[in-house]
């Protein structure tokens, strides 16, 4: 005989419910199977971790995440922002170094891998490869294949390793990644033949601070 179990309730779940209500209501109104108009959850028993209301999704192909202050490209690199969605497939970068150099080249205009015909993207030229914590911040817990908000990030790569800029401690040949199938975070070799994709980010307050090194006025490093 088991004693009647008290109803301990994790208030953290309640907090997430409050955050997710706007997104859930919007989804209910728009219909679960209408990804073009609202986040659609694979598991309605999981509160959205990145509900629509948490973003300012812009028609210029960028989306600001109000919680983190990060501004994301709404398409993966290799896709084309059409003005309302993302067409085409993400470009694969099997080599981490080449991926980083492509980000530099997108900013300078030497590469048009973002398919917008201009240097930078959406008028900005300080895009970066996200670190692994930044990638995790857009993992949508209620979705899978892909585990992204499908309104903010339409037609996202459904099951791909997404590069982060973060090397694994004491293991310089491997880098952290997030897989868009389920949001798994693990590490993989920086040099491989398997497909890897990337989604770029900028801003985020101090997150966007760029190391300068301490340059003294006379041009000599300390």
């Amino acid at each position: 005989m088991t004693a009647a179990r008290p109803t301990p309730f994790d208030p953290g779940n309640a907090t997430m419910i409050r955050r997710g209500i706007a997104g859930l209501l919007l989804a209910l109104v728009a219909g679960w199977t209408a990804p073009a108009s609202a986040l659609s959850c694979f598991n309605p028993g999981v509160a959205p971790s990145t509900p629509d209301a948490d973003f300012e999704a812009d028609a210029d192909g960028t989306a600001r995440h109000l919680a983190t202050g990060l501004v994301w490209m709404r398409c993966a690199i290799g896709q084309t922002w059409t003005g309302t969605g993302c067409s085409g497939q993400a470009m694969s970068f099997p080599q981490w170094g080449a991926a980083l150099r492509t980000v530099r080249d997108i900013n300078s205009g030497a590469s048009d891998a973002d398919n917008d015909g201009a240097a930078g993207f959406a008028g900005q030229s300080d895009w970066r490869m996200p670190n692994i914590k930044e990638l995790v911040s857009i993992h949508e817990a209620c979705r899978r294949a892909p585990a992204f908000n499908d309104l903010v990030f339409p037609n996202a790569p459904a099951g791909n390793v997404h590069w982060s800029s973060t090397t694994v401690a004491n293991s310089p040949t491997v880098a952290w990644y997030m897989d868009s199938a389920d949001g798994v975070v693990s590490f993989t070799f920086k040099s491989d033949v398997l497909p890897r994709v990337m989604r770029l980010v900028r801003a985020g307050g101090v997150g966007g601070y760029r190391l300068t090194g301490r340059i003294f006025a006379d041009g000599f490093e300390p």
């Binding site: 859930l24 911040s137 817990a141 800029s165 307050g205 490093e221």
Partner: protein, 311 residues
């Protein structure tokens, strides 16, 4: 040329140079002047703690390699700390910003001492001397984290206790809990202080995540009763990816559950409050390196570290 100094190599691309006087102004500012107003979020992220530079195959000194630009160490709070322009309230490695709190939730008067243990490895410090604390406030994210203990005898917060994942289908107010993934999970499957038994200890603690949350709130850890499970993203934010075994700042967080490097012991698996999208499992974070997986079954007895949002 003065000794011990060398000319700066010609940059391969334009670099944003911070003159010394602007650097001083940045030290005084809450955020670097190079960051536009309105950039900061309402719940900012920690940086990763990875503040070393690498190529595709080696760790390299002396700054960002030209052919691996924009890597983690070049950006963010860790970079601002490296440039000595990150304003912090507390301390911690790289860009982290932690403050130790006492049992009442107040910052210790002495913040720079190490955790004290006795000859047997049990906690032996005193908050007044700055050698023991109960919680850590993360000044970057606005979260307050539980600190695990190792006392003799073990107390409620001991790092060795384990909990299954449980989140009831119905909330105390009778409404449905919309965030347990559709399955309440495993009740009382762990091993914890004063474990509930329906016959021998009916008033005991349920050794599951919801039971632990209730017990810690009843105990009023750090003067608060709004402790909760962290989300997947929140717990990942605590990782120090510049370290491993464990991947967390052990100065601020001693007693991290796990037997590092022992192949005969299961790895550290710490529950989050986030249920998985697929199947009857929930997200957990592995503090040996920092991986996160959604597939651990809710009956599993794992570690827990609670969090609350600072006002």
């Amino acid at each position: 040329m003065p000794p011990n100094r060398r000319p700066r190599p010609a940059p391969s691309r334009p670099r944003r140079v911070v003159p010394a006087r602007l650097g001083l102004a940045l030290l005084a500012a809450a955020a670097p002047a190079a960051v536009a107003a309105g950039d900061a979020g309402t719940r900012p992220l920690n940086d990763t703690g990875m503040n070393l530079f690498h190529t595709g195959s080696a760790t390299v000194p002396g700054g960002e390699p030209a052919d691996y630009p924009g890597q983690d160490a070049s950006l963010g709070r860790d970079a601002a700390r490296a440039d000595s322009v990150l304003a912090r309230l507390g301390g911690g490695r790289a860009g982290f910003d932690f403050t130790k709190l006492d049992a009442g939730g107040q910052p210790l008067a002495i913040q720079d001492q190490a955790w004290l243990r006795d000859g047997d490895g049990f906690d032996a410090g005193d908050p007044a001397a700055g050698t023991r604390w109960h919680c850590v406030r993360d000044n970057a994210t606005g979260l307050v984290w539980e600190v695990k203990t190792r006392r003799a005898p073990a107390d409620l917060f001991d790092s060795a206790w384990t909990y299954s994942w449980y989140s009831s289908a119905v909330r105390p107010d009778g409404t449905a809990n919309g965030n347990n993934g559709g399955d309440a999970g495993g009740a009382n499957r762990g091993t914890c202080l004063d474990r509930h038994d329906p016959v021998d200890n009916p008033s005991g603690n349920f050794c599951d995540t919801a039971g632990y949350v209730a017990a810690v709130n009843a105990a009023g850890l750090c003067g608060a009763s709004d402790w909760r499970m962290p989300t997947r993203a929140e717990l990942a934010g605590l990782l120090d990816l510049g370290s491993r075994a464990p991947a967390i700042d052990t100065h601020y967080f001693p007693n991290v559950p796990g037997d590092w490097g022992n192949p005969n012991v299961p790895p550290n698996i710490t529950w989050t409050g986030t249920p998985a999208a697929f199947s009857d499992s929930a997200w957990s974070v592995y503090f040996e390196f920092g991986a996160a997986l959604p597939g651990n079954g809710k009956n599993g007895a794992r570690s827990v570290r609670l969090v609350r949002s600072a006002p």
